[in-house]
Amino acid sequence: MTALTAEDELTAEDETPLLEVRHLTKRYAGVAALRDVSLAVTKGEVHAVIGENGAGKSTLMKILAGVQSQDDGEIVMDGQTITIGSVERALQYGIALIHQELNLADNLDVGANIFLGREPRRFGLIDFAKIAKESRCYLDMVGLDLDPTTIVSSLPVGVQQMVEIAKALSVDARVLIMDEPTSSLSRHETDALFRVIESLRSQGVTIIYISHRLGEIDQIADRVSVLRDGENAGHLTRDQISHDAMVELMVGRDISQFYARTEHPIGQGVLKVEQLRTEAWPQHSINLEVGAGEMVGLAGLVGAGRTELLRAIFGIDRTIAGRVEVDGQPISTLNARHAIEAGLAMVPEDRKQQGLILEMGIRANIGLPGLERNRIAGMFLNRTQQRSDSDRMIREMRIKAPNDAQEVQYLSGGNQQKVVIGKWLSMNPRVLLLDEPTRGVDIGAKQEIYRLMEELAEQGVAVLFVSSEMEEVLSMSDRVIVMHEGQITGQLNRSQLSEEAVMQLATGSRNLTREA
């Protein structure tokens, strides 16, 4: 930090950017994830980078942090063109990335994590006294009064996040990239994080802040850069920052067209969940209902138990108590097979791990859930049926591929997600559960996924979707159910919907079920 003060005077006057990327391009297997992207951050600013899922934010950040290299374009730091290329080099330049999923060895203590890989040594052995002493100094900087010998796993997520920041500071980070830092933090922890960000800014640390929560960005960012479909969509200065301005740049088209909602009647409850207790949150029982043609958003912080709830309804995870009904018929034992037979379908959170078999072709993936239903003579594959199902899905969903045997690993994120949705549509479900349906897909595919969801709802399918993207929740839902720490804290219908109302319920600062 001391080295910076001298430099401070030099850079303060001429406003030359501390870090600049110029015309950056990155392709994955020929597909451009970033195209000619430029960005400049100055010393001591909080620079927000926003964009829809798949806009290229994480690719850009990975390049800056040295996780990946660009194909084209240059990165300039302090006026010098630099080649990053590895995490070690990025750290040498003072660029540190704090991932959304924390990267701590949580079986070790705080001090060990801060100095992981750079342990001070004495006579060849780890110098624990020095680790303890220096750790305290970095923990102070993030406002943590914590014993460095505390085991990380025993700390709440918010505190772990601070430890991660302290770790970044310990390598003299001048540019701190924070990827969705508040996605699993409570209101209180978020406030604490913002205070730390303020104090780091005043110490001259530059922060690149990535978030889906536009309210937060309004609150702390000095400038905003917007990415859309891997390209620059625009920049906003402090006085230009507003919710509407940001959304307009992110979506880049008429919002009412983008989130394709039409008026259609909502029918009887198709999906009914009664007194369901998941293994993750056994103390809370969940009741909810989704009507025919209704689209219900499930909002909440990361870790609020939304994914666990969907998995329990679909019978992937064991439940402790409760029952699930489809069209008034209870599912006898909750397992995925019975759920599918009852007309449930689920597009899981992790497309590559849970949704698809990457090394198999499109046809094989789409056919998988229906193999049993379509079998011939009790056990033989029905290849004709499989082929016609996959042909229909490829056509209807406009899946781009050379042929239906193309292994899905080579498809783009959006096309992969269409295959996942397609494999369930071929089952003609009554209830569609979706977990973060548009994560990591480009904006065109996103619009198509929304269109599909809407079409299904129009046909009377009950849709229940989890999303961490506020705009998606606000725009696509007929009704929003908000969860906090494993319980439903409230339901908001369209007239009550707002980002603030959702966040209050999501962070637990309000609980409508208790008020009622």
């Binding site: 791990q353 078999i357 859930p369 193999l371």
Partner: protein, 329 residues
Amino acid sequence: MKKVLGIFGLLVFICVATALMSDRFLTEFNIENLIRRSALFGILSIGAAFVIITAGIDLSIGSVVCLVGCLLPWMLVEHQFSVPLALLVVGLISLAIGLTHGLLITKVKLQPFVVTLCGLLFYRGLTRGIVQDQTQGFRGGFQGLRELSQGEVALPGTDFGIPNPCVILMVVAVLAIIFLNFTIYGRYMLALGRNETATRFSGINTDRMTILAYVICGMLSGLGGMLFVLDVGSAQPVDFGNFYELYAIAGAVLGGCSLRGGEGTIIGVIIGAAVMQVLKNTITLVDAIPTNIEYAVIGAVILGGVVTDELVKRYAARRRAAQQAKLDQ
């Protein structure tokens, strides 16, 4: 299919090379013996292939061969079991072993490597305990039963015959091919071997399919053990079937199974098993190759095979990605 052709090419190459270097290779006795051994190991390799396709492993194959191979003559000769009863018992033992492995792996969630490593030790120790380390043999009896392994089906109009184990292998292979390629259960196994989670999320009971794979492997190991002992006539519990699991696994891998799961063809596996046996034969027959480097040669050939396979795969992957990229632009 290309992979099968590749491994078949390797088999042909080794055969031709050996025939050129040794005049003892193409004798009737040698060929018949080679086919018999290849068929016996082919049966074991098919069993191994099923567990490997589900991304598992079975290290206990050799010990199951030993257990069955010793218990069969022990029951028939020492304890005068009737033939059907003895066969029923070894069948049930093999079934129980496979079932136990499958249940431990799916329900107790132990790793296949660990479970079957324990099996490898346990069944051999058990066998040695039961038969008191005594060699078990048919003592010249049970010729009718031994025909299963020693006999052959005469090819009409020639002096040659197809050894019975080879006929049995063909029956097993046809059933395995139908199961793996034409039934939904075969598809489930391939899918779960690639990605168990996604398969489970598709509403498929993956545990049941995994258990089935270990049962198939256990049963085929038992069948192999029975045929081996019927072939040679006696079994020494200390080393009967020693390392057979490694030959079985190597044959499967050479034949195109990936230990990462979800990949493999039965034809390839049979050819892979044959390559192993021909190689052994080559080393014995060709004087230029010292017999004591047998394992080095086998190891090098397998390594060469999998490296080639990996390179071919990478090339294919690049081509497919490029094809897709053209579309996405």
